[in-house]
Symmetry: C2
Subunit: 148 residues, 2 copies
DNA sequence: CTCATATCGGACAATATCTATCTGATTTGA
DNA sequence: TCAAATCAGATAGATATTGTCCGATATGAG
């Protein structure tokens, strides 16, 4: 009943990138200041490219860039990009797993609760989180680089 | 971001026991009709005893029994009895894990979302779920025993 | 008193998932 | 042509989940 560390990394990464939404960031530029293992972050960024949150460019001046405004990226979108569609119980995804099938008493309850959770996650945007972050010298060092 | 199978077992178990709230159930009486591994269920029942949802009695006519009405047992209580206090993110529990400490932008967001989720889970009772369960011959076979 | 029944508690094994790394391939611009 | 980067897949290591087993203890029945 909790998000994975991967998802936590993913959110921190986007908050960081949102500081300079137009810049093309390399894996290392994001991983180092945020303390995320670079090769692990690379995997996460791939998922963002596949889900359309980021675009990527290979080669010398390549890297990753937000495809839309941080204000248009919700926590729900981020979580689903990384973990797949949210489902509180296995039987939400595959009905077969629900051993009591159609008469599973909890099924509709999970569905409702999940709906409330998803709605709430959809209210929070990366922009909101980024705006909230305090500025400190150490933090500034991380984002004070040249860019577009 | 999903409940464990253990929690799923736990809820099904309580729904089953709620059919006959005064009866003293043995592990086997609950495990067999619900298809839960008996020795695994035994562990779950221990947690319920520790959290006060069930009382237990050893020996020949021993077993487990609800300590209060199914209408007074919420999903939140059940989940917390099994999984411990709910926390969507590790940094909810141990602040040290939150690598950016006090300036973690997501911290307050998680706190709010978690609050909404907990509130929703607190709305659902075992009674509500048990009432919703359909009666079928196969199911009746499971609960049609002597007792309380 | 003895015995079968049941919970209690801990250790343990098997499995699955999560986290992280590495390697080779491909693309790109200087 | 070369260095810088992403891309894709394999794989190892760590951790969590799921499930089993066993000895200890308590209890009521005979």
């Amino acid at each position: 009943m909790r998000i994975s560390r991967e998802t936590d990394y993913a959110i921190r990464c986007l908050i960081f990138m949102a500081r300079r939404p137009l810049k093309v960031h390399t894996v290392m530029e994001v991983a180092r200041p945020r303390g995320i293992p670079p090769s692990f972050l690379a995997k996460i960024l791939q998922k963002f490219v596949k889900s359309g949150i980021l675009s990527s460019a290979r080669g010398v001046r390549g890297g990753f860039r937000l495809t839309r405004s941080p204000a248009d990226i919700t926590l729900l979108q981020v979580i689903e990009a990384v973990e797949g569609p949210i489902s509180l119980n296995d039987c939400m995804v595959e009905r077969e797993t629900c051993s009591l099938a159609s008469r599973c008493a909890a099924h509709s309850a999970w569905k409702e609760i999940q709906g409330v959770l998803a709605a709430k996650l959809g209210e929070y945007t990366i922009r909101m989180l980024a705006d909230q972050e305090e500025y400190t010298p150490a933090f500034e060092a991380g984002i004070a680089e040249e860019g577009p």
